[in-house]
C-alpha cells in the first residue's frame, strides 16, 4: 500500500462515472447526516445513514476497491451497533465516523486517479471497532478478496421495523423454518445490474439467512449476476418489510412466490404498480452503446424525477442558443430592410407573413434561452450541506457550542456561481463561530443561551441571490476596530475618528487586519475578509456587514444569479465596444456637464461630494492606437470596494445583458478585461474587469 503505486479496478469508464456519482451522493449524505447523529438520533436518520454506508460498501466491493470496502465495512458495523442501541452515538463515535468519511473521500479519489493515495485505513478501522467493546457482532477480517465481504460475516440482521433474530452460519439449512421465496428483477436500463444484485444479496443477508440463491453466491459477490436473481430466505421478516427493504435499492423490483426456480433468463421488468419507474444514470451518448435509447433515463431523487446532464452538454446548448439569438437579430434587420421593397411591390401578405414569423422566432428564441439558463441552475442546498460539518469542527476547536440553522436551500442559482460561493461562505462562517460567538461561560454571564446560533439564509431578488450569515454573538467591537486600523497604519487617525459606525464596520474588509487576540489557525491571520470581498466582487457581487454590539453580526453576500451572463453598460472607447458590468457602475454622465478639475496634476471629477480620479478608458487598457473620436465624450464612474474611478469614453450605447465568453488560453489573463461578448451584429465586444482597473487607477486615499 504505497503512495503512487498504480491501481486497477474492475470497471470501465462508464462504470467509473456511475460509481463516482453514486459514491459522491452517499458521501455527501453521510457528511450531513453524521453531524446530526450526535445526541438523540432518530431511527429514520440512523436507517438512512446505515443504508448509505451499506451501499458504499457494496459498490466499492464490487469494483474491487478493497480498502474502501473494508473501511465502509467497519463503519457499517459501528453504525449497526448504534442502530440497535448497543452503542450510543456520542462525540467520540461521531468523530471516528467523520474521520472515516474523510478517509473514504480520499479512497474514492483513487478510483479516478488510479494511483494509490498511500492512505491506510487500518488504523481508522481499529479505532472504529474498538468503539464496540464486546457486543455480539463479530467483526470479521476485512474482505480479503475483491469479491466482497466474506461468507463468515455474521451481520446483525435487524431490519428497519422489527428486530428479527437469525444467525448466518453459512450453511444451508431450511429445515422446518419459515422461508420466503423471492425473485428480484433489475431494471433492464440499469448500467450495473451486477452491483444491484450484490446489494440485494447483502440486504438479504441482513434480513435473514439465504438458503438458496440463483445465480450462486460466488457469482453474485463477484458482481457477475445479471438482471434476475432468485433466492430462498429464512427470515422472520414479512413480505412487506422485505419488499420495502429491497426496493429502496435503485432499479430493483421484487416478486414473492412459491414457484420452483426458473433459469435466470433476462426478461423485461414488469412495472410494479406502487413503484414509479426507476431508471439508471444518464451518461454521455456513445454511438457504440446500442442499449442507449432515445429516451434519456432518469434517476428518482427524493420524490422528484430528474435527469443528470453533463455540464458540457448544457454549455453546448447555451452556445447554440446564443448563435440563434444573433441570427434572430440579423433576420429582423433583414426583414426591416426588405419591408420597404416588399411594400413597393405590393406584397403585403408576404410582408405580414415575414413579420409574423420573425416575431414568433424572436419570442421562441428568448424563451429557449431562458430555459437553457434555468437548466443550469442548481439549488444552493449543495453548498449549504457542507456547513454543519464546518460549524461542528470549528466550534470544537474553539471550545464553543454552536448550532447552525439554514433556510432557503431550494433557492436556485447557476452552477458557475455555486462553485464560487462555497469558499467565501465557509470563511465567513468560520469567522462567525470563531470570533462572533462567545464561549459558553461568556454567554451564560451575558444571559444568553450557552449554545450560540448561526443562521444562514438564502433568497433571491431580481437577478441576484442573497446569502445572509447571521450570528447571535458578541457583535463587532467598533471601538477596538477604530484603534486597530490606526495601529496597523491602515487608516489615518483623523479619518478613523471621523468615520461613522457603518464605515468602521467596513474596516473589517481591509487587508492585514485581524481583531482576534490570539490568531487561531481557524480563521487565519487576518487576510481572510479582504480576500473574501475581493473574490466576491470579482464575481460582480457585493458583501456587506451589519452588527449590534452584544447581540450579533450579519454578513450579506450578494451575487448575480449567473456568471454566464451579466448586465452591462455598453460603451465605445476609441472604436472598440466595451461592456462594463452594471454592478460596479455608479454613474454615467456627459463630460460636458461633469465637474472635472485639475487637482495636484491629475484630472479629478467632483461627484456627490467626492473627488474621483479621471482616466481615459482606452488608455487605461493600453490602447495605443490613434484616437479617432471627435466630439463630446462621456464619463462612467465605476466602483470597487471603497474606491471609485471616473472613466472617459466616447459613446454610451445603453444597458444590455451580455453573454460572457472567455478570451481563451492563448491570450491568457488580460489586464483590465474579463472576457468578450458577441454583439448584435456578430462582432465582439470586450468585457471590462472593473475591480482591477479601478484598483490601478484609484488614488491611494484613506477610506473616505
Amino acid at each position: 500500500m504505497s503512495r503512487g503505486t498504480p491501481l486497477t479496478f474492475e470497471l470501465d469508464d462508464d462504470d467509473l462515472k456511475l460509481f463516482l456519482e453514486e459514491a459522491e451522493e452517499q458521501l455527501e449524505l453521510l457528511d450531513t447526516a453524521l453531524v446530526e447523529l450526535e445526541g438523540e438520533p432518530d431511527p429514520e436518520l440512523l436507517q438512512r445513514i446505515f443504508r448509505a454506508a451499506h451501499t458504499l460498501k457494496g459498490s466499492s466491493a464490487t469494483i474491487g476497491h478493497r480498502k474502501m470496502a473494508s473501511l465502509t465495512h467497519a463503519m457499517e458495523t459501528v453504525l449497526d451497533a448504534v442502530r440497535q442501541n448497543r452503542l450510543a452515538p456520542d462525540r467520540e463515535v461521531v468523530d471516528a465516523l467523520l474521520s472515516a468519511l474523510d478517509a473514504l473521500r480520499v479512497l474514492a479519489e483513487e478510483v479516478v486517479t488510479r494511483v494509490d493515495s498511500g492512505l491506510d485505513p487500518t488504523p481508522l478501522e481499529r479505532v472504529l471497532l474498538d468503539l464496540l467493546e464486546d457486543d455480539g457482532a463479530e467483526e470479521e477480517a476485512p474482505p480479503a478478496a475483491a469479491a466482497g465481504p466474506s461468507e463468515a460475516e455474521s451481520a446483525a440482521p435487524a431490519d428497519a421495523t422489527a428486530a428479527a433474530e437469525s444467525s448466518d452460519s453459512g450453511t444451508e439449512d431450511a429445515g422446518g423454518q419459515p422461508s420466503v421465496y423471492l425473485r428480484v428483477r433489475i431494471d433492464p436500463q440499469c448500467q450495473l445490474p451486477g452491483i444491484r444484485c450484490f446489494q440485494v444479496l447483502q440486504e438479504l443477508d441482513t434480513q435473514g439467512k439465504v438458503v438458496s440463491l440463483t445465480p450462486p453466491r460466488e457469482v453474485v459477490e463477484a458482481g457477475g449476476a445479471e438482471f434476475t436473481l432468485e433466492a430462498r430466505l429464512v427470515t422472520t421478516a414479512n413480505e412487506e418489510q422485505l419488499r420495502t427493504a429491497l426496493q429502496s435499492i435503485p432499479d430493483v423490483s421484487v416478486e414473492f412466490g412459491q414457484s420452483a426456480s426458473e433459469p435466470a433468463a433476462e426478461s423485461p421488468a414488469p412495472a410494479e404498480p406502487e413503484q414509479k419507474p426507476r431508471l439508471a444514470l444518464v451518461k454521455n451518448e456513445r454511438e457504440t452503446k446500442p442499449q442507449q435509447t432515445k429516451a434519456q433515463p432518469a434517476r428518482k431523487t427524493q420524490g422528484s424525477q430528474s435527469v443528470r446532464i453533463d455540464v458540457e452538454r448544457l454549455d453546448g446548448l447555451m452556445n447554440l442558443v446564443g448563435e440563434l439569438v444573433i441570427d434572430r437579430t440579423r433576420l429582423q434587420q433583414i426583414k426591416d430592410a426588405l419591408a420597404d421593397v416588399l411594400k413597393d411591390a405590393h406584397l403585403t401578405e408576404l410582408t405580414e407573413n415575414l413579420e409574423e414569423t420573425t416575431s414568433h422566432l424572436a419570442r421562441i428564441t428568448d424563451e429557449l434561452q431562458q430555459e437553457i439558463m434555468r437548466s443550469r441552475m442548481l439549488p444552493v442546498r449543495s453548498v449549504l450541506t457542507r456547513l454543519p460539518r464546518v460549524v461542528r469542527d470549528v466550534a470544537a476547536k474553539c471550545g464553543k457550542k454552536v448550532e447552525l440553522v439554514t433556510a432557503g436551500e431550494e433557492t436556485e442559482l447557476d452552477r458557475s456561481v455555486i462553485e464560487e460561493l462555497s469558499d467565501p461562505l465557509v470563511h465567513i462562517l468560520r469567522n462567525a463561530v470563531d470570533h462572533g460567538i462567545e464561549s459558553p461561560e461568556e454567554r451564560r454571564a451575558a444571559g444568553k443561551p450557552e449554545t450560540g446560533t448561526v443562521t444562514v439564509t438564502a433568497w433571491n431578488q431580481e437577478t441576484y441571490i442573497y446569502l445572509s450569515i447571521k450570528d447571535d454573538g458578541r457583535g463587532i467591537d467598533t471601538k477596538k476596530l477604530r484603534k486597530k486600523v490606526v495601529e496597523r497604519g491602515l487608516v489615518s487617525p483623523e479619518a478613523a475618528e471621523a468615520a461613522s459606525e457603518e464605515q468602521v464596520l467596513r474596516y473589517i474588509f481591509l487587508p492585514g487586519l485581524s481583531t482576534a487576540e490570539t490568531v487561531s489557525d481557524v480563521s487565519g491571520r487576518g487576510v481572510g475578509m479582504d480576500i473574501v470581498r475581493t473574490n466576491i466582487e470579482r464575481l460582480n457581487g457585493h458583501v456587506t456587514v451589519h452588527s449590534t454590539p452584544g447581540q450579533g453580526s450579519e454578513f450579506i453576500i450578494q451575487l448575480p444569479l449567473t456568471l454566464a451572463t451579466t448586465k452591462a453598460l455598453m460603451v465605445v472607447a476609441n472604436g472598440t465596444v466595451y461592456a462594463i458590468p452594471l454592478v460596479s457602475v455608479t454613474e454615467a454622465l456627459a463630460a460636458s456637464t461633469a465637474d472635472i478639475q485639475r487637482v495636484g496634476g491629475r484630472q479629478m471629477l467632483r461627484l456627490r461630494g467626492k473627488l474621483l480620479p479621471v482616466a481615459d478608458l482606452a488608455e487605461a487598457l493600453g490602447d495605443r492606437r490613434e484616437r479617432t473620436h471627435d466630439g463630446p465624450r462621456f464619463v462612467v464612474a465605476a466602483r470597487h470596494g471603497e474606491r471609485e474611478v471616473a472613466f472617459l469614453v466616447d459613446r454610451l450605447l445603453g444597458e444590455q445583458d451580455v453573454v460572457v465568453k472567455t478570451l481563451g488560453d492563448l491570450l491568457g489573463t488580460r489586464k483590465g478585461l474579463t472576457g468578450a461578448t458577441i454583439l448584435g451584429d456578430g462582432t465582439l465586444g470586450l468585457i471590462i474587469d472593473t475591480p482591477s482597473l479601478v484598483s490601478e487607477h484609484a488614488a491611494t486615499l484613506a477610506i473616505a
Binding site: 452556445n319 447554440l320 446564443g322 448563435e323 444573433i326 472598440t576 465596444v577 496634476g601 491629475r602 480620479p613 482616466a615 482606452a618 488608455e619 487605461a620 487598457l621 493600453g622 490602447d623 495605443r624 492606437r625 465568453k661 472567455t662 478570451l663 481563451g664 488560453d665 492563448l666 491570450l667 491568457g668 488580460r670 489586464k671 483590465g672 478585461l673 472576457g675 468578450a676 458577441i678 456578430g682 462582432t683 465582439l684 465586444g685 470586450l686 490601478e696 487607477h697 484609484a698 488614488a699
Partner: protein
C-alpha cells in the same frame, strides 16, 4: 563538398507530410493538415488593447471567441494590405483554437519524405525556431511550419511593457 559527406551528416529521411500550403509575402509555408480546422475569409476582428503587434485580436467563429494572429507580422515579414485572397487559417493548438492570417491559401499537398530537408541544413536566423523543415518542390521551396513553435508560449509576454499605465 562531396555528396557522401552530406549524406552522412543528414539525419535519416523525414516521413511524408500531409500539409496545407499558404503564402506569406512571396514565400510559401505549410502546416500539418491535422492541425488545421478550417479556412475562412477575413472577417471582423476586434483588437485587444495593449497586445503585441502581431496579435490582431479576437474574432467570432460561429459563437466561439477565437484569437487571431497575423502570421506575417509574427514571422517578421513586412506588412501588406489585405487582399481578396487573404484568409484566416483556423488551427487547433495546445492552447486552443487560433486563427492565423495568411496572404493566400494555395493547396493541400502530400510531400514525400525524400523532398524534405531538416532546417539545420539551411542557415536560419534564431527566431525561425518554428520552421521544422524545408520541402524542395519542383518549382519552389515550402517551409514547413511548426505550429507550437510559431505560437507564443506561456512565458512569452503577450503584452508589451508600454501597456503598463502608471497611476499618477
Amino acid at each position: 563538398m562531396s555528396t557522401r559527406n552530406d549524406a552522412q551528416e543528414a539525419p535519416q529521411a523525414a516521413k511524408e507530410e500531409h500539409v496545407v500550403v499558404f503564402r506569406l509575402g512571396d514565400e510559401y509555408y505549410a502546416l500539418d493538415i491535422q492541425t488545421v480546422q478550417e479556412i475562412v475569409r477575413m472577417q471582423a476582428i476586434t483588437a485587444i488593447p495593449g497586445t503585441d503587434d502581431w496579435v490582431e485580436g479576437i474574432t467570432n467563429l460561429r459563437g466561439r471567441v477565437v484569437p487571431v494572429i497575423d502570421l506575417r507580422k509574427r514571422c517578421g515579414i513586412p506588412a501588406r494590405e489585405h487582399t481578396g485572397e487573404t484568409r484566416i487559417v483556423v488551427v487547433t493548438s495546445e492552447q486552443g483554437m487560433v486563427g492565423l492570417i495568411v496572404d493566400a491559401v494555395s493547396e493541400v499537398l502530400r510531400i514525400p519524405g525524400e523532398l524534405i530537408e531538416p532546417p539545420s541544413a539551411i542557415v536560419t536566423a534564431p527566431e525561425n525556431g518554428y520552421i521544422r523543415g524545408i520541402a524542395k518542390l519542383e518549382q519552389r521551396l515550402v517551409s514547413l511550419m511548426d505550429l507550437e513553435g510559431v505560437l507564443p508560449s506561456e512565458d512569452h509576454e503577450m503584452y508589451s511593457a508600454e501597456s503598463e499605465v502608471q497611476a499618477a
